[in-house]
Amino acid sequence: MASMAQAIRLALHYAEDHLGVTDVLGEDVGLPLGGVFTATQGLKTAWNSPLDERGIIGCAIGLALAGQRPVAEIQFCDYIYNTIDLLKLAGNTCWASNGDWNVPMVVRTPVGSGIRGSIYHSHSFDATMTHIPGWKIVMPSTPLDAYGLLLSACQDRNPVMVLEPKALLRMKGEELIPGEPGDDRVLSKMIDAPLGDRMQWKPQWPDVQAYTVPIGQGKLVRPGTDLTVVSYGRTLPLSVKAAQALESEGISAEVIDLRSLWPYDWEMIRESVKKTGRALYVNEDTEVTNFGEHLVRRTVEELFYELLAPPRLLAGKFLPGIGLADPLEMASVPQLPDVTEAMRALAREQP
């Protein structure tokens, strides 16, 4: 099964061939590297940009205004913070021009911890991004969702931010992408660039098919009755694992993979929380002015009287960075024991 990085590559290939993607631009996305996470290897429209994030986002906006379909990459979301004004501009251009112009661009950027990235390769971007109006924002936790969400993003008439959880980029999926060969080694031979000189290498693309995950649709990953866990990205598989572990303690947790952060599937959350009366939101961004706090707010706003316990947030500590040493990273962002414990505590909480 394809890894998430391979799934992204396949999606972009499909989007180049079928959805009119004209440019995959960013630092080191073209030859010879094909992206620091290999996500853009072999793509025919990939080209290396100058080392200038403002230029990358600016150029993508310009391309989009000119009717192209750019997919821009910011190498790590840690380096996107000098472009927030431009992201806001991309998000307000349609509104500011009263609908005259639209900006059909996609930005992809790896986010989060899990690869020992230290202070500047561990940032999360969901809190900052969900505060910027005019964008759609997605964050897959499986290769197939990455594929399906990217295909949706590349067809949207609005700017779409794709947050790619670094920790999951190399993880293989459990579902085949339509058209993907069943054998991983075969897939790798076809689309992974060889070591050494790649300038002559050409990928052999499998005939992948259209498959879209509509933006705004969550996924009920695991049904349950005692509490609702809503997560996305790196912490989603942890939530599933924790739910599995807690089964033996008689705790039945329902787990929702939000997948789209904006717009998001409130319907799915609401139905679940109405059923369980307990909600835990899990993400790894720092916990002050965090998107999970928005979800907590909405939960109390609309479901207060149906709650059996306060909705909880488990998120990253409010620290200036994630330290490199193992004990530091482990203590800074939610790990499996933290998720398990938070779920257990909420399930058992009594007034």
């Binding site: 230029g55 600016g58 906006i61 310009g62 391309l63 509104w95 009263n98 112009w101 008439r157």
Partner: protein
């Protein structure tokens, strides 16, 4: 009584029909701006900013643009002093009045944005936004699309002198001159010696802004943007180069700022700066292209016409509160 001025013999280097047209548009633009200022003063708008003093450059720019939608035509990434260009492209001045009054009919933003924040997709006029210099970061995008598309369409980006201190100006130079990927882009700086209250000479170690292009191998030129004839000829050359060679050109135009920065600084007429229309009219008169009386008539005609439009706008409704929810996203088609 002043006598008829002696006619200068040597002919002006532009066709007199064109000169008359340029004059007409410059006056139209000036009258429009003065009306906008008046509207502000009378409480028919919250804020004024605009282009009086830049007509001699902006009008030729508009006249020389290839107007239309899409890659075969010119893209304009302008800033908030661009009225001369937009009028020269053929825009009805009523749009600017409507935006000033924030009416629902405002064609550029539906009552959302400040005066002089034009936007017109039909003519490749990218929405003008208030942040200084971001247009220089975006312009390489449309230019890149045009490079790929071929043809003669080019991208034009404009901004002020003080703003070149923002990194986005450098971004534009870098992205426009990548070896083998040079972009068909005319990079314009209108140099009026000021950034709000701050004099250029106190901030700019770079005496000639156009020189910043040289290290990148970009063709450059600094011109007298107060002279519409020089502006026309220089723009023609520069735009011709960009159109044909598909390479960047950096053009610095020295201009005036005739009503100060904006209404925030009073919007009073500044007598110390050269008024391009006064100078141009002297020249037109001296060369017998137009008489004083004819020129007075042009101004009177525009004053009347624009006053009438302003009256029309006065009674137009403001946008409904509920419209805030419109166009957050472009709908699927």
């Amino acid at each position: 009584m002043r006598g008829r001025p002696t006619l200068v013999k040597e002919p002006l280097p532009l066709d007199s029909k064109l000169l008359v047209r340029m004059h007409e548009l410059m006056v139209e633009a000036r009258v429009l701006e003065e009306r906008l200022i008046q509207m502000y003063r009378q409480g028919h708008g919250y804020f004024w900013i605009g282009g009086p003093g830049e007509e001699a450059f902006n009008v030729p720019l508009g006249l020389l643009m290839k107007k239309g939608q899409g890659l075969d035509f010119d893209y304009l990434h302008g800033h908030y002093r661009q009225s001369g260009t937009v009028l020269a492209l053929g825009e009805d001045p009523i749009g600017a009045l409507r935006q000033m009054k924030s009416t629902a009919t405002d064609p550029y933003s539906g009552g959302r944005n400040f005066a002089s924040h034009f936007s017109k997709r039909e003519w490749n006029i990218v929405p003008i936004s208030s942040p200084i210099e971001v247009q220089y970061a975006m312009a390489p995008g449309t230019a890149l699309a045009q490079r790929r598309h071929g043809g003669e369409g080019i991208t034009i980006v404009t901004g002020g002198d003080a703003g070149t201190a923002e990194g986005d100006f450098a971004t534009c130079l870098v992205w426009s001159s990548r070896p083998g990927s040079e972009l068909p882009i005319l990079i314009v700086v209108t140099h009026n010696q000021w950034g709000i209250s701050t004099a250029a000479c106190t901030q700019q170690g770079c005496k000639i802004i156009a020189d910043r292009g040289k290290a990148f191998g970009i063709q450059t030129r600094t011109i007298d943007g107060n002279d519409p004839i020089a502006s026309y000829l220089e723009l023609q050359k520069a735009m011709g180069y960009v159109r044909k060679e598909r390479k960047p050109f950096l053009l610095e135009a020295n201009v005036s700022r005739l009503y100060g920065h904006s209404s925030a600084s009073g919007a009073n007429f500044v007598t110390a700066e050269q008024d391009c229309i006064v100078e141009f009219e002297k020249k037109l008169e001296a060369h017998g292209v137009l008489t004083r009386a004819e020129m007075d008539q042009v101004r009177a005609r525009w004053s009347e016409e624009i006053a009438a439009k302003a009256r029309q706008v006065r009674d137009e409704p403001l946008p409904e509160a509920s419209t805030i929810w419109k166009h957050i996203y472009a709908e699927d088609r």
